[in-house]
Symmetry: C2
Subunit: 228 residues, 2 copies
């Protein structure tokens, strides 16, 4: 069976994001996948990139450089335990699903902190090992999120612009940078502002998509997909 | 004199970001501005959006909805003290400067957490009060940041794409959404990979820009600026 890591960033299990998470765990497990969930709020995951991420002495204690220090710590096995655990989950996964509500055209800070702290140099990329040559090659990723605004607002003519504009930093700038292929995002628009029936349809659509997920081809993660 | 709030997200005062902060404080103070700094790492600013942001009872304790709860808490004066303090600084400022290193095509999580938690509904925007009608009208903002990648990488032909693509969620999705006008960003490309002389030139350029900052016109914060 395939291995899936779901990195989940919502405070409330009864939320719509909580339902989407539950569906993914159930459907993928039913398919025979091994599913791991990093429930960031429940874990009280630390989003701040600080000196605490390095165990023991610093490479250069005169002037703290987070990128250099975590790179060096990774090489000598001196990253903090919570990071090592997340990296192990990433290493083992065939597919990474990120489930979250869009906050300010972006992921919530707690999830951004997961990216900032887990995907360190040496582990996820290296000097000349980025994008198609990134160190996490062979894996897939999928951004699944809810919005506050409607689909019309996030269109080319809408005030929020094309929703793909907000996907660029996440999909290209993070996942593609690490060599991870990107599946089509899964977007539920404004679940708080639609009818119960529409919400049920959205949940069913997610279940249906998951049934054939492993047959999907990744997107072409180039500027054309986002901006043309 | 004008009032300036600098929201600063770097761990190390001796860093290049630290030098840019120092320059801004000195130059703007010399001009007679009143400058306040929110030094997020030094403050150990909390980036996680949780129930702790609401003092006392919840509006709906059955299912926690951060957006609804902070909106309700704002209206009845029940937001946590650290948020109230940041909101007061924002309220008083004529100009907001965000100083940070670009992490993963975006701001560091600690700064994203400042956006997520401080700019709550009722304070920064409201139901039909967003974009040009946002509640923080009359203020200016400026994103000043350093990159790891070179200017060539962040060009239209570069693998990172036009740097303006990463500015859309920050400038349009956050500041413009709240009614704040946006000045041209100030970008120092790859300060860790250039000569001492080039670094000095970058610092001088920042000082020079600040001297005539109040004469600048905001950008036209529409899709054309970012994607055409």
């Amino acid at each position: 069976g395939k291995k899936v890591l779901i990195v989940y960033a919502h405070q409330e299990p009864k939320s719509f994001n909580g339902s989407l998470l539950k569906i993914a765990v159930e459907e993928l497990t039913k398919q025979g996948c091994s599913v791991t969930v990093s429930d960031l709020y429940a874990m009280q995951f630390e989003p701040r990139a600080t000196r605490n991420d390095i165990v023991g002495r610093l490479h250069n204690s005169e002037a703290f450089n987070y990128g250099v220090e975590t790179w060096e710590a990774y090489k000598r096995g001196a990253l903090s335990k919570d990071l090592v655990e997340e990296q192990k989950k990433v290493q083992e996964a065939d597919l990474l699903i990120f489930q979250f509500p869009l906050f300010w055209f972006n992921m919530p800070a707690i999830l951004k902190g997961w990216m900032d702290r887990v995907l360190v140099q040496g582990f996820a990329y290296d000097l000349s090992k980025a994008y198609d040559g990134g160190l996490l090659q062979g894996k897939l990723s999928l951004f699944s999120f809810t919005t506050g605004g409607s689909q019309e607002m996030y269109s080319n003519e809408g005030i929020g612009g094309d929703i793909r504009y907000v996907l660029w930093p996440m999909q290209h700038g993070i996942m593609h940078f690490c060599g991870v292929k990107v599946l089509e995002p899964h977007i539920c628009y404004a679940p708080e502002n639609v009818s119960d029936e529409k919400r049920k349809e959205m949940l069913t659509a997610w279940t249906q998509r998951l049934k054939t997920l492993w047959k999907e081809e990744p997107i072409d993660c180039s500027p054309e997909w986002y901006f043309k």
